[in-house]
């Protein structure tokens, strides 16, 4: 097992492949079973095309998912994988990642799986900063159970379980993750393969937990949920792509930008009105998550302003590295002498 330092801290310890790989190497022999037109297909393809660029041994990659349409993802990957139970993938993956430094562990989850039943595991995984890449397929609906509202559904949504409209105020997954001390948070859209791949790349390179929210269309139960972010003419007004170190500008011709507002808030403005110097320069590495948080609040979840890209990416010790270090320290400083442990300090001897 050759472990080559790729210069990617996120993947340190994971052995690299001897030969170049292709997308099809990552396709399993199982037939893909999503509805026609499901956004999950696009993401699957993007991931299968992206993984070869990491050059890792396939057998050292593991996909762990919960339950939901998106959570069938592992079956289609020619890697190791577990389709576990609803909401628990981050917890299972935490155990796996802690036990095995030589694996690249990916979690695939949905808005219901990750944020409803699995919310607690998600936030704890993020605060612990376990070395996991978490792909959250957000279709703002429960797909597998046939169309109930989810924790990211808009208030007032009429679904099978809310014939008079849903009442709950939705989570903003980015804000939630930042409130939960996430070290890496990004967002992408199923249809934007380049953007998605770029966020995946940065996530893979990040050492620690990386939460990637992926807006995913469910043509069956929530069709067109993200159409405004895809329609030419509409999308440019709404999409705010981030690039570290660059002023945050958007619009078909970069005519809009993000500026400071009040204390600790951000807002959108016309560049022509505020001037280029007023624009906020994106700093994904800011220690204080307040900036990333403010970015996540540029609009409510009506998609009127949707920031994509990497909101935050900071380096902090990871739980699994630290746990292994403690074991290593203990091994280095104390003998693993079972006999002496069992005897302890106070023994007596009975002679025959």
């Amino acid at each position: 097992m050759t472990t080559i330092d790729l210069g990617l801290p996120g993947l340190a310890g994971v052995p690299t492949a001897d030969e170049p790989q292709k997308a099809k190497d990552y396709k399993s022999d199982q037939e893909v079973r999503w509805c026609p037109g499901c956004g999950d297909y696009v993401v699957l393809n993007a991931v299968q095309s992206f993984l070869p660029t990491l050059g890792l041994k396939r057998e050292n990659i593991v996909f762990i998912s919960g339950i939901g349409c998106s959570s069938r993802f592992p079956y289609y990957m020619n890697t190791y994988g577990m389709h576990s139970i609803h909401g628990r993938a981050p917890a299972i993956a935490t155990g796996l990642a802690t036990a095995r430094p030589d694996l690249s562990v990916w979690v695939v989850t949905g808005d219901g799986d990750a944020l409803s039943i699995g919310g607690n595991h998600l936030i704890h995984t993020l605060r612990r900063n376990v070395n996991l890449k978490i792909l959250l397929f957000n279709n703002r609906i429960y797909g597998l159970t046939k169309g109930q509202y989810s924790p990211t559904s808009e208030t007032g949504k009429v679904t099978k379980s809310t014939p008079m409209g849903s009442l709950d105020h939705p989570f903003n997954p980015i804000s939630l993750a930042l409130g939960a001390e996430a070290s890496f948070v990004g967002r992408a859209i199923d249809s934007d393969r380049a953007g998605l791949t770029e966020v995946l790349r940065q996530a893979a390179e990040h050492r620690g937990s990386a939460l990637v929210e992926i807006y995913q269309n469910c043509p069956i139960f929530n069709d067109g949920a993200f159409d405004v972010l895809k329609d030419a003419g509409e999308a440019e007004q709404r999409l705010i792509p981030l690039q570290h170190g660059k002023p945050i500008r958007f619009g078909a011709n970069g005519e809009y930008g993000v500026v400071r507002a009040g204390f600790g808030s951000l807002d959108v403005a016309k560049v022509s009105e505020v001037g280029e110097d007023a624009l906020v320069v994106h700093d994904a590495h800011a220690e204080d998550p307040s900036f990333a948080f403010a970015l996540s609040r540029l609009s409510t979840q009506d998609l009127s302003h949707t920031v994509t890209g990497v909101f935050r990416s900071v380096t902090r010790p990871t739980y699994d590295d630290a746990a292994r270090a403690q074991v290593d320290d203990a091994k280095a400083s104390r003998a693993a002498d079972l006999g002496s442990l069992l005897r302890g300090k106070d023994t007596w001897t009975v002679i025959a």
Partner: protein, 631 residues
């Protein structure tokens, strides 16, 4: 072995008559803040070091520190030590040490007439008496006439003894538990170096406190020796145990050591994924100290995350372990089911406590057996192993691991509060005698045509599935909670396949070989069999001895494997006229036995949060044996 303070000091002092006893039960009782657990623990260590057989039972309130001087705030520790092999911490104390009125009130009913009562008089002031509802001091009326009462102003004497140390009054008074320990150590001719060494180590960072405690301890010892109050001292000779090296051990520690040993013997790293809960937390505490053995302890956000992390680690080829008590098992049930379906090894430790719901968190009970058997959706069989005594936890942990690894299955390890916190001498095993637990992971394709890896292809003998861990080239595969096709492991909704898989999973567990049940029937004439499981081994054994001492024949057998049962169990049950099953629940094992073997077992149950008393069982059994023998 020297028994005196400062080496031979015990030889000096007023000569006293020495009575030889074969066994003694002492109960130290005081306020939660009085350090009774420590006191009892030290006395136990002294008895252990002296070579007695022993058995202990701590008893503490659910509150961290209930209001001082109240009944709910009383904490006690009972130690039973003897010159022969004993089985229980004793039903009732021979000696009760009561540090305050609350302790007296809460415990005096258990002291048999003629028993010795040692009271710390300093606390018997109006306020404290009123707090617990004593109108007058029981030391001053004749309510204690039935006992041999020793009134000792422990706090005052301790403070006096420490006057020169410069310690504050309060700190000095705090050492009065060591005074009590010293006094009792003197009474029972205990070796004392261990305690002095212990105190110096424990307070290594506060040497003045260490010295004060040692001084108080000695003060107690000398008090016994110099005052004339105590006419008799007692000797309990070392027990004639099997030869070997012994140590004292609690169930939780033994269980943790069993896991450490399992790690060593399987050569696998261990990941304990757990969440604190009484009375299981000490397993986490203990294991977290032994990382050098390749043990990672993960305190998760809840019980579910704890077991999930353990399962994830097992998936990665480690030994996943999770520890909890009954309410935690309830939460873990869905994930245990995933373990059954994915057929991964997993040790699930349930240190049972009083239920239902939060119940009696610090008390013991055996009422999770049926939860362990059936507490999951669908047909979801798991092996169950139950240790029968504190020291037995070590072996049980190794056995559970052996089953989990061989059969790729979650195993339920059913301990309980009595076993977990109780202690007894343990014949320390030779590391070389421990079983080999190494596993063979799959490394090659195994499909009939030799080209693919089929994760659900089974070993024809064990029915265990092939186990390939991530990182194994060419064996990439996916598992999960959906039903899988026999062999390939692909998702299958096929009716016949499901029926087959349900039966295969059951057959795998049913086929685990467990040792035959051994019956203890010294006369060979018994017509009544007493069958227990788990921590009631001690009281049942003690009761049987007593019944036999009364001249009756009674057979005893004890189940350590609750699923599957030993192959000879049905035959054993049917060979007695009557089978009595005492349980600290409403008859859970009895139900299983009746259902499986159609034997009309008699269930004797008590669900009081306390272990059975040998006396109680003795009476029950004697009546039954007499009835059967007369019939």
């Amino acid at each position: 072995m020297s028994t005196g303070v400062d080496g031979g000091a015990a030889a000096t002092g007023t000569p006293r008559s020495v009575t030889k006893l074969d066994r003694v039960v002492i109960r130290f009782a005081g306020d939660s803040g009085d350090g009774m657990q420590l006191t009892g623990d030290r006395f136990t260590s002294e008895a252990a070091a002296f070579g007695n057989d022993l058995s202990t039972m701590p008893n503490f309130p659910a509150e961290i520190r209930a209001p001082q001087g109240t009944i709910p705030g009383v904490s006690s520790f009972q130690v039973h030590f003897a010159d022969y092999d004993i089985l229980t911490p004793g039903d009732r104390p021979d000696v009760l040490v009561a540090m305050n009125p609350a302790a007296l009130k809460a415990n005096i009913a258990d002291l048999p007439a003629g028993g010795t009562l040692i009271v710390n008089t300093d606390e018997f002031v109006k306020r404290n008496l009123t707090k617990v509802g004593y109108a007058a001091s029981p030391l001053e009326d004749d309510s204690l006439a039935a006992y041999q009462v020793h009134q000792v102003a422990m706090a005052t004497i301790t403070q006096n003894a420490l006057a020169d140390t410069g310690l504050g009054k309060k700190d000095a008074e705090r050492c009065k538990n060591m005074f009590a320990l010293g006094l009792l150590s003197w009474m029972y001719h205990r070796p004392t170096e261990g305690t002095e060494r212990f105190l110096r180590e424990k307070f290594a960072k506060k040497p003045d406190i260490a010295e004060a405690n040692v001084l108080a301890f000695r003060a107690g010892f000398y008090y016994g020796e110099t005052t004339e109050a105590f006419a008799v001292t007692y000797e309990v000779a070392p027990a004639k145990l099997a030869p070997g090296t012994y140590r004292q051990i609690t169930g939780n520690t033994a269980l943790a050591y069993g896991i450490v040993a399992a790690a060593q013997q399987s050569k696998l790293p261990v990941l304990l994924g757990t969440y604190p809960i009484t009375p299981a937390s000490d397993i986490l505490h203990e294991l977290s100290k032994h990382k050098q053995f390749g043990i990672t302890t993960f305190q998760a956000e809840d019980e579910i995350a704890g077991i999930c992390a353990a399962l994830g680690a097992s998936y990665g080829g480690a030994l996943g372990v999770t520890s909890t008590s009954g309410p935690g098992v309830a939460l873990k049930s869905e994930t245990i089911g995933l373990g059954v379906m994915t057929e991964l090894p997993l040790i699930v430790i349930d240190v049972q406590r009083g239920g239902p719901s939060t119940g009696l968190p610090t008390k013991t009970e055996q009422a999770d057996l049926l939860q362990a058997m059936y507490g999951r959706n669908g047909e979801s069989p798991v092996p169950i192993v139950a240790p029968q005594s504190p020291a037995d936890c070590f072996k049980a942990a190794l056995e559970a691991t052996q089953i989990a690894l061989t059969y790729r299955t979650p195993v339920l390890l059913l301990s309980d509060g009595a076993v977990a916190n109780g202690s007894e001498p343990w014949l320390v095993p030779d590391v070389d005698d421990l079983p080999d637990l190494t596993v063979e992971f799959a490394t090659e394709p195994n499909s009939p045509d030799g080209t693919a890896f089929w994760p659900y292809l089974r070993d024809p003998e064990t029915l265990a599935r092939a186990w390939a861990v991530p990182g194994t080239a060419g064996l990439q595969h996916r598992i999960g909670g959906l039903e899988k096709a026999d062999g390939t492991g692909n998702i299958s909704y096929e009716p016949d396949n499901h029926d087959r898989m349900v039966r295969l999973r059951q057959a795998k567990i049913d086929g685990i070989p467990v040792p035959d049940l051994e019956v203890d029937d010294p006369t060979g004439k018994a017509r009544v069999l007493v069958l227990g499981w788990g921590s009631s081994y001690g009281p049942i054994g003690a009761a049987c001895r007593r019944v036999r001492k009364l001249g009756h024949s009674v057979a005893q057998a004890h189940l350590r494997n609750l699923n599957p049962f030993p192959a000879n169990l049905g035959a054993v049950l049917r060979s007695y006229d009557k089978v009595v099953v005492p349980e600290m629940n409403l008859g859970q094992l009895a139900l299983l036995l009746r259902g499986k073997y159609l034997v009309d077992v008699v269930s004797y149950t008590k669900v009081a949060g306390l272990p059975f008393k040998a006396e109680e069982l003795q009476n029950v059994l004697t009546d039954i044996v007499k009835g059967v023998d007369a019939a």
